[in-house]
């Protein structure tokens, strides 16, 4: 069973993703900002990280760098309301960039795709 870390400052959204992903059979943990996420990655092993960009304390872009400097191979999906960071080189190091939507299908597909490609 894959372990996913959801990093999102909006509580309702975070919980929604957790519920949805657990329903799909993933084990989900939550972090409410970049700092927490970096801490968690340091102490646990995850198969995938879902990262919001705008968060208090430490934003997603900074967290992205910190997480990758710790573990280069860990897959990361940027999931944000901003669409304009997609072409920004700051996010190139992420495995995928998905713009937030009330329809979670795109996110779920990306997760499946990345995890299956990794497990091969």
């Amino acid at each position: 069973m894959s372990r996913i870390l959801v990093v999102e400052d909006e509580q309702h959204q975070r919980e929604l993703y957790a519920m949805e992903l657990e329903d799909d059979g993933y084990e989900v943990e939550q972090a409410s900002n970049g700092k927490e996420a970096v801490e968690k990655v340091k102490n646990n092993k995850y198969d995938l990280v879902i990262l919001d960009i705008r968060m208090p304390e430490m934003d997603g872009i900074e967290a992205l760098g910190k997480i990758l400097s710790r573990d280069k191979k860990i897959p990361i999906i940027i999931y944000t309301a901003y669409s304009n960071y997609k072409s920004n080189f700051m996010t190139w190091t992420a495995d995928a960039y998905v713009t937030k939507s009330s329809n979670l299908d795109e996110l779920k597909n990306k997760i499946k795709e990345i995890l299956s490609s990794r497990s091969v």
Binding site: E10, H12, Q13, L16, M19, E20, R54, A81, Y82, S83, N84, K100, S101, S102, N103, L104
Partner: protein, 684 residues
Amino acid sequence: MINRRLLIQFLFYVPDIILGSILYFLHHEDYFSSGMINYIILILIVYLAVKVLLHIWVYKVFVINQIESVRRYIHNFKKGKFSLKENELRGQRYLSEIINELTDVGRHFENMVASQKDEIDKFKEFYNNIVLSVSSYFLVINQKNEIIFANKSFSTNFNLANEDIVNNSISDLFYFSGGKIADAIENVKKKGESIVLRQTRLLSKNRIAIIADVKISRITMQGENQIVLVMDDITSKCRKDYQISLISQISESIQKDDEIDRVLFSILTAVTSGSGLGFNRAMLFLYDLASETLDGKMAVGPDSIEEAVQIWGAVQGEKIDIVKKMEDYSPGDRKGGFFLEQVLSKHYKYTSDALFVKVLKEQRAYHIKDAWNDTRVDPDTREFVGVGEFIAVPLVAGNRSIGIIVADNKYNHAPIWQDNIELLSIFTVQAALSIESCKSLTTVRNQMEKIKLRQDAIVESEKMAAVGRIAAHIAHEIRNPLVTVGGYAQRIIQTVNKGLKNPESIKNAASVILKESERLEKILSNVMDFTRPSPYIREFNNLNEIINDTVSLLQNVFQERKITIQLFLEKEIPLVKSDFNQLKQVMLNLVQNAMDATPQDGVIKISTEIDGDKVIIRVKDTGSGIDEDHLKNLFEPFFTTKVTGVGLGLAVVRKIINDHNGEITAVNNPEGGAEFRIILPVPI
């Protein structure tokens, strides 16, 4: 004191007295008997012996000792000690007189020699001073033409260390010294007669130019002939002449000019004008690094003999101010003469062995006297120039050849004198520098143009980025609650679709949707606030309170940035009909801008005052002030000079003040810094 002489003389006679008295005694007593004769003979023998001994003794004591003294004296005399110890020759009056006389002579000689030495030393110093430090330059050259001595003035003036001079030849130190000076030196070597070269132009290899009268003469030092060059620097004397001379005027004006074509034209005008160098024609080629070709760039001179005659007629008739004419020249009116066209179409490959390329490569002037037969001239050049005698000089800037100038007297066939060549060569040094500086100026200008364009583009894109940022910000603000609402709604649908009876989860989702909808509404009303035509104002506020509130909010920031804030608030200020939060926004924006413009230890002053039925708020800072050009744009939305600015601060301020029926103006303080003044009406 007993007289030694007398005593000695007395001693001499002692034996005589004794002998006499014995004989006298014998004569009286009649002792001359035959038996006594033996005694008498014995006495005589003793007498003689004593006498001899006495003589020997006296000789030893007096003569030998005296001679010893004299010898010692002479010995000292030889060493230059002219003194006589009194007791040594005591009693020897004659001898000591002679010796005294000798001593006097010795002393006299000593004085003579001493004063001579002084004289010689003085003389030597005098000479050294002259040779080493007279303002004339002084060079001594040996038979092999190597410099063996240079005086201080020379090395100082030409900024050369002694080792740069000694063992070098004149042509190692000076440009163009091969001609006149070298000839003169050879002449002096052969004939021994001195030569003076008047007003010789000298340009040292480190580009120090002087005009000097050079006197060349031959001296013989320890059997070897040497050549002495004395150069009297008359540069400053000539400077005045030179200054009024056309060349210098032209040199100066080309140094100031930055239009490359005009510089080139000016240079060639100087080369061809009668009061300049006076060549009939001149052409200029520049080396193009990119294409590796030597390209014809400019030419000055008549196309035909008829034109030449006409021009000279005109020049002689009315004294044309050539410098003036040059200044009037604009690149547009390059007269498309045949000669110019011909030159402009000339391009020599750097790899070719054309004469002009040789001049460029070797950085050396070529004076061709008979182009038709001179093997150094390639056929193409021969045909192109079309004249027997011409001169081609390199344009050298720094150590690099940047081009060449070719000049000839095609029309009057006047011979080209060494003088002219030297002058042209000196002039080309200045010309090359002018071309270089003009070129680099042009490059700099192009570069600046490019940078400015790029900067404009950056500013433009910054602005677009700012707009984008705002849009992104709003989008983000709205998208987030929307995503949440949609997400939970989706979840409810799924729950129902799957037939799950989970009222708790549905209720949860619905309450999230509700909350997020409220949030959305709030965001929208905030956005509306910004764009709403005018707020509905019903409060009455004390402006001082608003200011105090704003300042206390920013207190930490002031401290952090070491900015002092001073308040001059009118106590009796009337209440103004206003929106507290909006006016606070105004103050915040103004103070924020003031802080941005103010360096550390700056001061921001805020004051309120009453002016009839109006109140005035001033925000003054000690910062950079506002560019005059920007004053009119300041309040436009998105106008900003800051890299990270959005340019909405003052736009919002103006909107709010307008909504309050007030006015806002910005001025620069005469003592520096900016001042923003808000006027608000007091309700009656």
